[in-house]
Symmetry: D2
Subunit: 377 residues, 4 copies
Amino acid sequence: MKQNTNLKVHTLADIEHLKIHGRTTGSLSPLTLFWTGSAVELNVKSSELWLEVEADYDVYEPWISILINSVPVSRQMLVAGRYWICVFRGMNDRVVNNIRIVKDVQAMSGDPGCSLQIHAVKMDGKFLPVADKPHKIEFIGDSITSGEGSIGAKAEEDWIPMWFSAINNYTRMTADALNAEYRVISQSGWGVLTSWDNNPHGNIPDCYEQVCGLLTGAKNEAIGAFQEHSFEIWQPDVVVVNLGTNDGGAFQSPEWKDEVTGESHKQRLNEDGTYHEDDIQAFVDAAEKFLMKLRKNNQHAHLVWAYGMLGIPMMPVIYRAVDVYSKKTGDKQVSVLQLPNMTDETIGARSHPGSLAHEQAAKELTGYLKGILASES
Amino acid sequence: MKQNTNLKVHTLADIEHLKIHGRTTGSLSPLTLFWTGSAVELNVKSSELWLEVEADYDVYEPWISILINSVPVSRQMLVAGRYWICVFRGMNDRVVNNIRIVKDVQAMSGDPGCSLQIHAVKMDGKFLPVADKPHKIEFIGDSITSGEGSIGAKAEEDWIPMWFSAINNYTRMTADALNAEYRVISQSGWGVLTSWDNNPHGNIPDCYEQVCGLLTGAKNEAIGAFQEHSFEIWQPDVVVVNLGTNDGGAFQSPEWKDEVTGESHKQRLNEDGTYHEDDIQAFVDAAEKFLMKLRKNNQHAHLVWAYGMLGIPMMPVIYRAVDVYSKKTGDKQVSVLQLPNMTDETIGARSHPGSLAHEQAAKELTGYLKGILASES
Amino acid sequence: MKQNTNLKVHTLADIEHLKIHGRTTGSLSPLTLFWTGSAVELNVKSSELWLEVEADYDVYEPWISILINSVPVSRQMLVAGRYWICVFRGMNDRVVNNIRIVKDVQAMSGDPGCSLQIHAVKMDGKFLPVADKPHKIEFIGDSITSGEGSIGAKAEEDWIPMWFSAINNYTRMTADALNAEYRVISQSGWGVLTSWDNNPHGNIPDCYEQVCGLLTGAKNEAIGAFQEHSFEIWQPDVVVVNLGTNDGGAFQSPEWKDEVTGESHKQRLNEDGTYHEDDIQAFVDAAEKFLMKLRKNNQHAHLVWAYGMLGIPMMPVIYRAVDVYSKKTGDKQVSVLQLPNMTDETIGARSHPGSLAHEQAAKELTGYLKGILASES
Amino acid sequence: MKQNTNLKVHTLADIEHLKIHGRTTGSLSPLTLFWTGSAVELNVKSSELWLEVEADYDVYEPWISILINSVPVSRQMLVAGRYWICVFRGMNDRVVNNIRIVKDVQAMSGDPGCSLQIHAVKMDGKFLPVADKPHKIEFIGDSITSGEGSIGAKAEEDWIPMWFSAINNYTRMTADALNAEYRVISQSGWGVLTSWDNNPHGNIPDCYEQVCGLLTGAKNEAIGAFQEHSFEIWQPDVVVVNLGTNDGGAFQSPEWKDEVTGESHKQRLNEDGTYHEDDIQAFVDAAEKFLMKLRKNNQHAHLVWAYGMLGIPMMPVIYRAVDVYSKKTGDKQVSVLQLPNMTDETIGARSHPGSLAHEQAAKELTGYLKGILASES
């Protein structure tokens, strides 16, 4: 092998034209990518480019996808350690190429040891500015938004990072179609009030104002995951909330019991199989409160509750919550959209929406958001 | 990171149920994968699996794709060196998973240093038999068959391994649709008589009877690339020849001149832009001879000349060659199929067929081969 | 021309195995087809078949479509008069063929002279039983459900029967996909509370309990259009209500004024462009009342409010109405479904959903109703 | 019914801006439409329009389709007799509408009584010029080109006009996509040398130079069907020959015997199932002769032999014939194109290509002809 002797190392802090996607602590030494879809983006004129990554985990390893000029060309597991990855070789160094390295797996609330950090870039050319996109979208969701099952065979049943994708994902597809920057806040199994198994700690609203508050453990604390998030530096035009699927599932799941405190919780069904009105009201209250928190932190954003990729049992309740919120606050910048349901033809791995289901959802959501973004500008 | 202490190393020679796709020298210590689409396939019950690879190159690095249960989940560049790659972690070890690691780039006639070898597998479970498939297909072709441009953005122009794919490829798609094993013999720019630039050495027939005769250099000689290939152990039911595109291109290209010998060659156009009859005849003779060589080595195979993904200017000549061959030999097991032409909607990178064009070609070819395979059995 | 001398005339009353689709007065001498999608269906072994029709109109002529074995093969305008139409000739009379003659245009509230009647059938074979289908669906709607614009060029702007289709229609497509019998109650421009131009008489609920109560004039009275409809003989499993689009439009339209009584009506917008709460409440009240009327007359049916093919501005209000109705009555057999929005690619004539938009709506609705019908049986 | 008292009758000869598609005798009093796809086209500003037709037949009745602004809106059987058909009513008479009445069934060699004639137009507005299209295409074919089976259920087996369509037809689709005028010469079951059942009279070449020479009987003679066709007034840019399917079928069919003359004919198979070389040569000779006849009459046209919608067994022979013709004559304006094969998904009625198969063929053919038309202009 002929060594390329012209490569120079650039720490992230040294790179003038570095674009980072997703919430961060602000630190670049190293940069931690917390959420799925978080990414480093560069425009370069260079014949070769490497990335120094550091990955760790107790259980769930990180994966990344590499996009060259917006097209996915590589996807790989990152085993534990600190090392260099070659992004490309042999390219024409007089041509600008756009490079995006994307975290392909959600933040892992179940693995305090899981982390993905980026230290430096090595290349033989120069960096160029990455233009801002005209729109910004934040997506908040559960396993659907984490792309669980959107890659892999239908038969797959293991809950492992390999079956998560930020690329085969309606969030990426919608953002691409709208030429928008985007961020994702998501966690498999979580909801607005509780997780699918009635655990009241499995709710997104409580951790929404931290950088990545659903993580646990001393390492994540040290990295800064629990810092307050600075909303002012990235104010989205739209916040898409794709939650409710697990809140609906909780009604069908057994009671959750905290073994330590004895605390227990259960969203109850009536005898005729319908939802217990008190527990529905608890969801409505939680959703209303979450909308207030979203509005507080995203002052000019249109809030869109987009739901339905795995059925619509909670839709009436979501409409009720949005109605209550809107009436109480007078906030008109909030609406609900039903996403197309997964079918036998669009199912992916782990009984979750496959790539085709994400495409259909993205198409519907894109059409809807176009109207909103047009009326805003 | 928690180390998996149960992993055991198995050299390839130790693995009872190892399935290898593509021509090899027979050696497993290590195994060299020469051609695009060449692969190692395993059925395993294991929670984790690693592969020890050794890659080298002067210019063009190898890439691999990993398929789990027939679905592509990873694609990565292999930088130079000998090292372990983690294929999966955290899987249920009571379930059989099918693993295929595929060479994603063609054999590189232009880089004597390029090689990809596999030494061993490391895992914590056991190997199971991989069932034989009912059909065998050999594909012979040029850049189209090498999947040049079937991955990457349309704007890409660099001739680099990153833009080649054995997965976004009509060969894989056709074989999958027919439940067939397959092998690929292909080289970008090459033809039946000459390469696109009139170089008479750029022809596939001359190297067809060696394991991988289009490679060069002492290293490849040592590995065994120039050995005679043993046809008897893998007799295909169908040989698909997708050649002629570069032979047609040669008519439009300048004369080729060998600087050392002074030898030169040129397929000539008439003044009205049509092909010179003598040079057409030279192609017909070469094609006829190649068909004889194919028949000699593949005695029960149906020979299908499938052409047309980048236009059909050579189709009349291909039909003439097949007609002449069939009449002379009385061989009826030979036919011609026109593949659908690439369009503005199906173009990929480097002005070559994109993934959609390969899908269309695969669909047409699959339908055609179904008829042939049905009539044979 | 060789005359077929074997043809025999059968009045409808004489035909044992006659299947009629759509609400009727019960009379067969002649049979009046009122609503779009209404039809006569026959199974016959016959070489030839004619139908005696009688059509009339002042302004809007009727059209029919003919389906042979469920496939549309003819569509034609019916000019005024009483005459025979040849449905087929030259068929094998030992084979059973299924014939359906469908009214392709809505009941015309704006033309008291418009009528379509069927007197008799002429053929040379015999009639066979038409099996009942396992499900029954009633569709209630406006221009979308009347198939306005689902046939014809995008440029068409005339409001004429030619641009209406019961065939390129989500009602037919959904019923076919579910193997269901169906009926349609629909009128372009009409709503739950008012028509698109704020006319409070343009509401479907008021005429729902008559055979075809939105017609006018002495001729229609004589035919029996204003009779009370007998619900008990055809109880649907599902009632799909696709109304609200014109109620939403009314907010954007000028006040309606009755020149005779001086009565006027207007659904008002607030200054910020949102809907006036009092007028929203009037819609909610009307929708709630309509649901009660539907439940009274369709006692075991699931009521599905399906809305969204021309935008979803009224969706929160529809959800509110359904929520109120469900809470007050304890009725759980009622739900809301969002249908896919028309796009630039799926638009038809007269700025209305085209055939493709109907296909998409049918696909989504079919998937949803499958779940409901499965849980019922 | 309110009578429109403003309608005026115009005989065809009186209409200044009348556009006729398809070969005719030149007579307008009345105009006979012989071939499928033949049509009358008008641009009108009128509120209403009627057409006076005269239809007759012993066995096979004519059908027409009506296109308004290029979109099919009506299709109907024409029973025997002379009568008026209403094309539209109630249109805005200040807007130009394009009207095309198309013969939807092939010329009927098997029914000397079958005819379709047009006498006059009745309307209340005015005629406007119909612009010429930039290209002209002639299609020559068999049942595929006649659209046999491109409408109707898959189960249909009767050979009747109802299952023929000039609209669900690759000829119309290709011409529309290329913005071309077109004519069709076609007959089910016929070939270049013989019909599917070895009848040597069932060949298109022999009747090619007459207006509609495959008809029979005194009535057709009186109408002028057997007149010499005047090629000079409509010289196509491309002649598409879609023949060979029945010539191939003849090899699989029993001998044909003329009961009167005792003459018999049979295209023979060898014992191994391949085609007998002598009979292949007879086809090649016939095809070569036909190409000469086509060239003689269409001097600047590109001749495209397009074949393959029902398999490609004759393709090598077609290529041989074209090769021989081209070499002998030096004619370079001739080529062969393989059309996509019908599949289980695209099959229509009577085991013939359905609407989807015609769409696929049209797409492939359109792409190919675009290249030819571009290089010509």
